[in-house]
């Protein structure tokens, strides 16, 4: 980043009041942890409910100039290899912007809100994403950047109880449902989703009401504020990709193990096969596989193996396999966990590989993802 002053989310003053340690992240001054610390915040999310400020992420409403939502869906499908036309009102789906080489420009969530699409993209990519959509879809769609809305996530087994105090209707929502809810007279967009492997919700709140709503949420005895530190360890245990680490323009969706995000209708033989950037490569890899793959990695010892550690097929470091893309200590696993890319020959769970850390070759085992059992409410 350059020396531009850091941006602040609508909850910035509250973070300071709660004693957060603030760090620069994607151009924003964000809480990395609160006084409880990363370990306790992580475990509180798995056992009760963590509250995360993710207002730095980009929120955008997308409308077809024709007024027909189908036209907006088809426009988005020209940039995103996902079945958006088949997304029903009140439902949300994970998606990706791909480039002509079949790499990933960003990952995202897109929801059908009846007469328009609501999309959430990564903070670090949002300006580029908005420009990308404007450039390619600007003739067919309008884009309303929702800069006046905060976004908070409530994650964990008690998230439903915390949010139900505001709005009992949320208890009937299922994983990836999205609805407009009235939270004590504040109009919010609520989705049952998240980035922790736990059941939970993401709530888009008008900026001027965000602190009020969040303070009320934190009044609940089971709800604790959680910073970016634990957000990262939670998503890593859940096997979820971090854009810029685990996926980027050099990784394809198939290499990243994200085939599940590309529905049959967009694959070879589907009614709307291809028609997105990089389709040649991605469709071919969906049929025949890619030469390398993102896998889970369990170091056998206690030493964390972190991003950019090199991976080898032998303990002497003769056969280079690839690189760790995310790694650290998993508080719920109670040990080190990592993800990285290895050739298909070494991608099977149980394969023994080695990671170079401070000049030593540490034995690791390729592991199934996620490292924890997700508790999404299907």
């Amino acid at each position: 980043m350059d020396d531009a002053p850091l941006l602040k989310t609508p909850l910035h003053a509250l973070h300071r009041q709660l004693g957060a340690r603030m760090v620069p992240f994607a151009g924003y001054d964000m809480p990395v942890q609160y006084p409880a610390g990363v370990l306790k915040e992580h475990l509180a999310t798995r056992s009760a409910c963590g509250l995360f400020d993710v207002s730095h992420m980009g929120q955008v409403a997308i409308r077809a100039k024709s007024g027909r939502i189908e036209d907006a869906a088809l426009a988005l499908e020209s940039l995103i290899p996902v079945d958006i036309l088949g997304l029903k009102p009140g439902r949300q789906r994970y998606g990706l912007f791909t480039n002509d080489e079949g790499g990933i420009l960003d990952d995202l969530m897109v929801a059908n809100r009846g007469d328009h699409f609501y999309m959430v993209v990564n903070a670090s990519c949002k300006d580029a994403d908005f420009q990308h959509m404007q450039e390619h879809l600007g003739d067919r769609c309008t884009f309303e950047i929702l800069a006046d809305r905060a976004l908070v996530a409530l994650q964990g087994p008690h998230a439903e109880q915390v949010l139900a105090e505001f709005c009992p209707e949320v208890t009937s929502m299922k994983f990836m449902d999205v609805e407009f809810d009235d939270l004590h007279d504040v109009d919010c967009i609520v989705s049952r989703s998240g980035y922790s492997g736990e059941d939970g919700f993401e709530v888009s709140i008008p900026s001027d009401k965000a602190e009020l709503v969040v303070k009320r949420m934190l009044d609940h005895p089971d709800c604790e504020p959680v910073g970016l530190g634990a957000r990262d360890s939670l998503r890593l245990e859940a096997g979820l990709c971090l854009y810029g680490n685990d996926i980027d323009t050099t990784t394809s969706p198939v290499e990243a193990g994200l085939e599940w995000a590309i529905q049959k209708v967009r694959r070879k033989g589907g009614a709307r096969a291809g028609g997105f950037p990089g389709a040649n490569r991605i469709l071919e890899e969906l049929e025949n596989g890619a030469s390398r793959r993102r896998v889970g990695i369990r170091p056998e010892g206690k030493a964390p193996v972190r991003a950019h550690a090199l991976l080898y097929g032998d303990e002497g470091g003769a056969t280079t396999l690839g690189e760790v893309t995310s790694g650290g200590f998993g508080p719920s696993v109670d040990g080190p966990v990592a993800m990285g890319y290895v050739p298909i020959s070494h991608a099977k769970a149980g394969t023994r590989i080695f990671a170079e850390v401070r000049g030593k070759f540490l034995p690791c085992t390729v592991a199934e993802l996620p490292f924890i059992k997700p508790t999404y409410k299907r």
Binding site: V32, V38, L39, K302, P304
Partner: protein
């Protein structure tokens, strides 16, 4: 009397041997430690060599050797229980004992007041 370095280590020097650890301030800044790697007994280091590693959930950090010397003892307890460093950084959670090559070099280190001013 403890001595301190700008790299947030403390030293307690007795008979030419320094017991070395990281300061309470450093432990607070690092957050919950989950892994500690110590040098081997017999290893020799120059001042500012990387002698040990501590890791929190988020990141790995180096612990530098505060003066020239040889490792004569290490504290295995903090390897088994890294959380000890957060609980008692300037006490039971010492890292290693260093036989100083030139004990007089310790005179150049900070005392507690000077260190307190540095982190204020």
């Amino acid at each position: 009397m403890l001595k301190f370095t700008e790299e947030h280590e403390w030293l307690k020097i007795e008979g030419g041997v320094a017991t070395v650890g990281i300061t309470t301030h450093a432990a607070e800044q690092l957050g919950d430690l989950v892994y500690v790697e110590l040098p081997e007994v017999g290893a020799t280091f120059s001042k500012n060599d990387n002698a040990a590693t501590v890791e929190s959930v988020k990141a790995a950090s180096d612990v530098f050797c505060p003066l020239d010397g040889e490792i004569v003892e290490i504290n295995d307890a903090i390897v088994a229980h890294p959380e000890m460093v957060n609980a008692d950084a300037q006490g039971a959670a010492w890292f290693f004992k260093l036989k100083l090559a030139n004990p007089a070099d310790a005179d150049g280190l900070m005392d507690e007041d000077a260190y307190g001013r540095m982190i204020a």
